[in-house]
Amino acid sequence: MLLSIALVSEILPIIFYLIFLKRNRGEGLWVIFLYSLLSFLTELLFFGMVRRQIIYSCFDIIEFTLFSFFFYSSLEKKKFKLIPVIGAVIFYIVASINFTSKSFGSLSASLESILIIPYCILLLYEQIQDPTIIFVYYNKKFWVIIAFLLYFSAVLFLYIYYNSLSSEQRSNYWAINNFFEILKNILICVAFIMKKDVQRSYLTDNLDPDI
């Protein structure tokens, strides 16, 4: 049941991005749209292919490349921009070693989580430091960051221990992945649906953060 909902949720960000295309133009969220599209296509391919591991490995690499690009383009400070670049180099080395592995790429997936979590914290830090962003939660990227931060925090231990689990445990614990996949997609949808200038209009109407 949860798996079906998770699969359906994959398509939601794609639909909402296309519906609210105008709102998302110029916000740098096309990378997230591409990621959602890739994620959805991978799930579709996953059912029809025999060599699933290859698909996962490819997906992992492309997914991480998109994330790195998203964080690289979103971070403002030059010294911070270096971090996703260095992280990507490390990830590519590990992923290429692990590419032909027959089991689930636990190592590369875990490394991806370990790298994405600090990227999210870094971007959050930069957002709260930015004086032009009055309330972080009125920023589209904030919701994208929260989506990834929650998702990767939730699945980090699952990915680390995945190869040590029995098949029964795997199917039980995979529910964590499915649940947070749904949550991530919902949060990405929130980012896509949000009005572009909500912060500006809010500011001119009322400045009280309590309201």
Binding site: S153, L156, L158, Q169
Partner: protein
């Protein structure tokens, strides 16, 4: 990561995974909540500061408007009460009946009218000088301050002296006028409230800063008193000082001398070129 996988027994993997995930989620949610609340707190604090600054600006603006009105009223009163009757009297001397009078009376009337018109000219000159002291306009701040201090010392009730250590080049006239008005206001306060027996003013510069220091031995105020008076509805003169100095990006400090005998007022200004840069910023 690999070490974690290898060293953890299979039976406890499930527990570690469960608590690890819960822990990570708790940390993440905690972080998000902290960021949101911290930001709201910071914004609330900034808004409070902004509101306080706005209130302060409002007070300063009100003080400035009130002072301007008082000044206008004073000029209007001077013109109405002094110049008006004088000119009316001169007109009486020069009425139509003058032609019917004998030569001596005519000359006497014309002489009296001339005297009254001279007095009126002097009166108008005084009003004009109070608006823009000619010494300040023609000879600069040092001469204007010396002139003012000589008048105070001349009264015999107080000893006033000044010394300009580093005033080779004059400042812009409008800036000198602002500084002079601030000094006048401070002197006025000292004369009115302090009961001092002497006032000493020194001027010097340090780097890009221009300092004017006033010492007196009467009852004075400290910076705390100044801040309190600035925030209250009283202390119109002090607010006026503050608003004038704001134009020059200047600061004022009120303190008691190290010896606890004298009160010291320091006016700190940025030199003009730097001031222009500050305005551009």
């Amino acid at each position: 990561m690999i070490i974690l996988e290898v060293t953890t027994p299979v039976s406890s993997v499930s527990t570690v995974l469960f608590f690890g995930t819960i822990g990570m989620l708790a940390l993440t949610i905690g972080l998000i909540v902290f960021i949101i609340f911290h930001q709201r707190k910071v914004i609330r604090y900034q808004m409070k500061l902004q509101r306080m600054e706005q209130d302060q600006q409002k007070l300063l603006l009100n003080a400035s408007i009130r002072l301007q009105e008082e000044e206008r009223q004073r000029i209007a009163a001077d013109l109405h009460d002094d110049a008006g009757p004088l000119l009316a009297t001169a007109r009486l001397y020069l009425n139509e009946n003058l032609v019917n009078l004998d030569k001596t009376s005519q000359l006497q009337s014309i002489y009296n009218a001339k005297q009254i018109i001279d007095d009126t000219i002097q009166l108008i000159r005084n009003i004009s000088h109070s608006l823009m002291p000619p010494t300040l306009k023609n000879f600069g701040l040092e001469s204007a301050v010396n002139d003012l201090f000589q008048k105070i010392s001349g009264s015999g009730s107080m000893n006033a002296s000044s010394r300009f250590h580093d005033y080779r080049e004059r400042l812009q006239t409008e800036n000198e006028l602002i500084i002079f008005r601030v000094i006048q206001e401070l002197i006025n306060n000292i004369l009115k409230h302090s009961n001092a027996s002497f006032i000493h003013l020194t001027q010097n510069t340090s780097g890009n800063k221009f300092f004017i220091r006033l010492h007196h031995d009467g009852r004075g105020i400290t910076q705390n008193d100044f801040n309190k008076l600035n925030k209250s509805n009283v202390g119109l003169g002090l607010k006026n000082i503050q608003s004038r100095l704001k134009v020059l990006h200047g600061k004022i400090f009120f303190e008691k001398d190290m010896s606890q005998t004298y009160y010291k007022v320091t006016i700190e200004l940025i030199k003009e070129e730097d001031n222009k840069l500050a305005e551009q910023d």
